[in-house]
């Protein structure tokens, strides 16, 4: 594929100029005539309480106030902010038991920050001042923060249809014994010579996307509901809002604004329902709702935290005979993605190693925490923290090298992938491991760091992962793309795929240009207006390049085919005898016979009759390509990380010295963008391993919903990072590409934990691995 001219090149990103000059227009920047401002009143006093009295009267009299809305003043319909229910068949929806349990405003507070009422006023300040005048009286209720607390027999029930506060477990109908499984696990363990087992805790990590929530809604003079939002999923949010407000889709329009980072925090609806409800109360006036960081923290979904138990059995020769696991996540106050994450967390586990038998149970429990949902990796970082530490414990007991063991026992082409029944069709994990090991000096360092004694000890650890490109076959995968050939032979693509900063509009444009055989500059991506764009699931599951790119490629192939068909007619040659060079179509072996794409495009639009003979000049009709694309597979990306750390035995402080990431990316459409994804993923992966966690006091009050006390790694905390792109084209991906948006976050988590294990000889079972936990563990060991 060395003849590629646009794919594989580090072209200028389509969004870079606007973003670095401050020109990008985010939702918060949008100004409109007659704009009003909404302020949502939230409960910050309790995590679980009943509203016994709500007095809106004082607020209504405040200066600048247009309207004050309580729970009864908005639609009484319940909804589910997540979009999982829109990606499965109605049969499957029934089997999974997904429910609608969120209200726009509530009288039953279920988490710190739940919404009670709202003020609409002529300025943000007036709205906030009036909101302070709303008087809410509460009756405090008992608080359940963990699965253990929520499932107690005397615990109050969050939903009558979910007894025991068990929001979700793998349903018996699809998963016998409520388990994702193969083989006979209990029997297999009897064959094991070595068994390792432990219970871990994985933390409630926050996406920390740069842009806090900002929304505008307008119920216009055509009785259409317009919403400006930086959602990752414009088409699904359009449908969700249509359902919630009982409007046909033609009367709901999403204007997708520039996204300041997503990582799952904008998957589905966040404050779109509240904002739209306010707008519908003041028809004809746009209403803007802006979240503070602290508010965004507790209203947009976080990563699922919880207890993760795992047991693995090995034969003396290293054969992995059995793996048994259970993840009990602390779901939060509402259902959201209770089913999705509980399943995928096990899917990544099942997709990694050739255990003779495996059994995974995933359970989601309602708790009085803010909601959990999608976050880059969707269960994979949690599994990586646990699975990879257990594998290394097994390797230590077996006395084998962790890289050698992984190379021998990871799943590969032909093995069942993360979804049983869908085998892997490409895998270059061995090459990833080999190149990463060489780059960091694995063998030498592993030997050197044995039997250290000093205060500062080094360690080196490895981790591997499998992920996905799109969620097929678990979820619907579908993207529609139109490609319009203008009369000057440039192309505008119209589709709903979001670019949330991951660079998808750049790489999609590269795919289009390469497919068309046009220069990069001749293609434009128009996205974000749901009136214009066809269906798309949205930016999630590392799918946009793989599935969106598949749609773009197919639509552009359609354009190219139409161009060639017309050229063949004009030149009187078979299509097979033609080739294109610099947007001119030539006949093979006949240098004087050619027609430019520009001529074809122009004649298609500006089509006239020859006055002399009455015949049309050229072929009439503007060329438009179209694809309604369903991918044939999920092009599994694989990856390995090796981390080297330094641990201070007197303070427990950990410094990550170096991180090498080697990823099977299929093909790097834009190597710089791939590296950016891996760097960014590493920052979040290392953060999950070392510092990041949202936490609550015993009353359920969130203690660190801001950057003051939730600590992400900053530039000076980051190690030296080497990214190795292993290009092993996937047979189904556009130009062989696999999804890379999520992969980068996953293996740094386990690699860091294993490096610490290598340095100090102890595994820390709870993430983040803080100095406090390390010192405690060291003291226990002594």
């Amino acid at each position: 594929m060395s003849d590629l001219t646009v794919v594989g090149k580090r072209v200028e990103r389509v969004d870079v100029r606007a973003k670095v000059t401050g020109g990008a227009v985010y939702a918060a920047d949008v100004q409109m005539a007659g704009m009003l401002y909404g302020k949502i009143v939230r409960c910050y006093d309790y995590a679980h309480a009943r509203v016994t009295e709500l007095d809106l009267s004082k607020a209504a009299k405040c200066k600048g106030v247009i309207k004050v809305l309580g729970p009864k003043d908005v639609t009484q319909k319940e909804y589910n902010g997540s979009v999982l229910d829109m990606m499965v068949s109605s049969d499957m929806r029934g089997i999974l038991g997904d429910i609608d349990d969120q209200s726009i405003f509530t009288t039953h507070v279920k988490h710190y920050g739940d919404a009670i009422a709202a003020v609409i006023a002529t300025s943000e300040e007036a709205a906030e001042r009036a909101a302070e005048k709303i008087i809410v009286t509460y009756e405090e209720l008992p608080v359940y923060l963990t699965a253990e607390a929520a499932r107690q027999s005397d615990a109050r029930q969050f939903r009558p249809e979910k007894p025991g506060n068990l929001a979700f477990q793998l349903p018996e109908m699809a998963f016998p014994d409520n388990a994702y499984a193969w083989g006979e696990v209990d029997k297999s363990f009897e064959e094991a010579d070595i068994i390792v087992e432990d219970t871990f805790y994985v933390p409630k990590q926050k996406q920390c996307q740069m842009e806090p929530g900002a929304y505008i809604a307008l119920y216009d003079d055509q009785e259409r509901l317009n919403c400006w939002t930086s959602t990752q999923m414009p088409k699904l949010v359009q449908k969700k809002l249509a359902n919630l407000f009982e409007l046909p889709m033609t009367r709901v329009r999403i204007n997708a604004t520039v996204i300041g980072g997503g990582f799952g925090a904008r998957l589905g609806m966040v404050l779109e329902p509240e904002t739209c409800a306010l707008a519908m109360a003041v028809p004809g006036r746009p209403v803007k709702v802006l979240s503070t960081r602290e508010e965004d923290w507790v209203t947009s979904p976080s990563r699922h935290p919880g207890k993760y138990w795992m047991k693995m059995g090995f034969k003396k020769d290293g054969t992995p005979v059995a793996c048994d696991a259970k993840f009990e996540n602390y779901k939060g106050a509402y259902y959201m993605d209770a089913s999705g994450t509980a399943f995928t967390t096990g899917a990544w586990l099942g997709g990694m190693y050739k255990f003779d038998s495996l059994r995974y149970r995933g359970e989601s429990y309602y708790t009085n925490q803010s909601v959990c949902g999608a976050f880059r990796g969707y269960g994979n970082p949690q599994t990586n923290f646990v699975m990879e530490q257990m594998v290394d414990r097994g390797c230590a007991a077996l006395g084998v090298d962790p890289i050698e063991w992984r190379k021998k026992w990871h799943k590969t082409i032909g093995d069942d992938g993360w979804c049983i029944g869908v085998p892997y069709n490409s895998c270059a994990l061995d090459e990833c491991l080999d190149r990463a090991a060489k780059a960091i000096g694995w063998t030498e360092k592993r030997a050197k760091y044995k039997n250290q004694t000093g205060t500062i000890r080094r360690g080196i650890g490895v981790s591997v992962m499998n992920h996905t490109s799109g969620a097929m076959p678990m979820l619907l995968e579908h993207t529609v793309c139109d490609a319009l050939l203008h009369q000057d032979a440039t192309v505008t693509l119209n589709l709903a795929c979001s670019d949330m900063g991951q660079g998808s509009h750049t790489t999609l444009r590269q795919v289009a240009a390469e497919t068309l055989g046009f220069p990069y500059a001749d293609v434009h991506i128009a996205a974000g207006d749901t009136d214009a764009a066809g269906f798309d699931i949205g930016a999630h599951a590392s799918r946009t390049l793989y599935v969106g790119g598949g749609a773009v490629k197919q639509a552009c192939e359609d354009v190219r085919k139409q161009i060639f068909d017309r050229a063949a007619l004009e030149l009187g040659e078979a299509v097979g005898n033609l080739y294109m060079e610099d947007k001119v179509i030539h006949v093979k072996g006949a240098s004087n016979k050619s027609i430019s794409v520009q001529t074809i495009a122009d004649q298609g639009v500006n089509n006239f009759m020859n006055p002399e003979n009455g015949e049309l000049i050229g072929q009439p009709g503007q060329i438009q390509g179209y694809a309604s694309f369903f991918p044939p597979h999920n092009a599994p990306p694989f990856g390995a990380s090796i981390a080297e750390v330094e641990v201070d035995m007197e303070t427990g402080e950990v410094k990550v010295i170096e991180l090498v990431n080697a990823h099977d990316v299929g093909r790097a459409i834009h190597p710089g963008i791939v590296e950016g994804q891996l760097d960014g993923g590493a920052q979040q992966g290392l953060g999950m391993a070392l510092t990041e966690e949202t936490y609550y006091d015993e009353k359920g009050i969130c203690l660190n919903n801001s950057f003051t006390d939730y600590k992400m790694l900053g530039p000076s905390d980051m190690p030296k990072i080497t990214n190795i792109l292993v290009e092993n084209p996937d047979p189904t991906g556009p130009f062989g590409a696999k999804g890379v948006g999520e992969a980068g976050i996953v293996p740094p988590v386990g690699a860091t934990a294993n490096a610490i294990f290598n340095a100090i000889g102890i595994q820390i079972l709870e993430a983040p691995i803080t100095p406090e936990k390390i010192l405690e563990a060291l003291a226990e060991k002594d």
């Binding site: 007197e650 660190n704 100095p771």
Partner: protein
């Protein structure tokens, strides 16, 4: 809960120290002085009591950062952390202060936050404050009645509370000339680099060869204010600083501190590492190369 909207207040822009003092006399505890503003602007979102913000932006005579080998160091009210970091005199003569400035917050905050603001904030986590407490110094306060100097040793009363009267303006800080053989250092621990200290320590030792004549040892985040550690200081005074002494010191530190659990760490952890940190900051002071001093 935070807000995107700041409280209403009057921004007052005096053009002289006298005018500033007059405004302070008029508005007293209904006012706040704005120099760098890195703490104040955050507080203004929550603090309903501040009706008047008195900005020092137009007040001349407060940006002096001057070192005189005979008189010592003077730090004016508007001197920023970044100014300190750029000063070779500070780097050469007051390494603890320079080291604290070096790790202080982020470049953006260092460009704005002032040294005196750090002292006036009276946080037990103040990095520059800890370093200055170790080197010692006195603040010049001024009100309509006149000026007074107050030693840093007497300045911090409790968390967020100082000996400054509401009508007094902090004009400058004076730090004495380094004594013969003076060595100082600052060290801290944080959750991430760009963070407040979870625990910090500063020392100032007067050394003659291997022997320490006099020591000031300060620890932060282990009590309601920054603390001096008198037992440790006594153990060092007149003693040869040997590994054995450092070990003994390390064991004694815990008896002089009273940390609590908070968002940044636990009392248990702070108790565990406090001795290590004091040992290390003493070693850092002693091991610094002459040209780093």
């Amino acid at each position: 809960m935070s807000s995107r909207v700041m409280r209403d207040f009057d921004l007052l822009l005096p053009e002289s120290i006298e005018e500033t003092i007059a405004l302070l006399a008029r508005h007293k505890d209904k006012s706040a002085v704005l120099a760098g503003g890195t703490d104040l602007l955050v507080a203004l979102k929550f603090d309903y009591s501040i009706d008047n913000v008195i900005s020092l932006a137009l007040v001349p005579g407060l940006d002096e950062l001057d070192f005189d080998p005979a008189r010592g160091l003077t730090i004016g009210a508007k001197v920023t952390i970044a100014d300190v970091l750029r000063s070779q005199d500070v780097k050469d003569n007051y390494p603890a202060l320079w080291q604290a400035a070096q790790v202080f917050a982020t470049p953006q905050l260092r460009n704005t936050a002032t040294v005196l603001g750090n002292i006036l904030r009276a946080s037990p986590a103040g990095d520059c404050s800890a370093a200055l407490y170790a080197t010692g110094g006195s603040l010049l306060l001024k009100n309509a009645k006149g000026c007074r100097n107050i030693d840093l040793d007497d300045f911090w009363i409790s968390y967020g509370v100082t000996a400054r009267c509401v009508d007094e303006l902090a004009i400058s800080l004076h730090v004495p000339v380094p004594a013969q053989g003076e060595k100082s250092a600052f060290r801290r621990m944080t959750r991430t680099t760009e963070d407040l200290s979870k625990i910090n320590a500063a020392v100032c030792l007067q050394m003659a060869g291997e022997t320490c004549h006099k020591a000031r040892v300060v620890m932060g985040c282990v009590g309601p204010t920054l603390l001096r550690l008198p037992k440790v200081e006594k153990m060092l005074a007149g003693a040869a600083v040997t590994p054995e002494l450092l070990r003994d010191i390390s064991n004694v530190v815990i008896s002089e501190i009273a940390p609590i659990d908070d968002q940044r760490s636990s009392a248990e952890y702070r108790n565990k590492v406090a001795g290590v940190l004091v040992k290390r900051v003493i070693e850092a002071a002693l091991n610094a190369k002459e040209n780093d001093q």
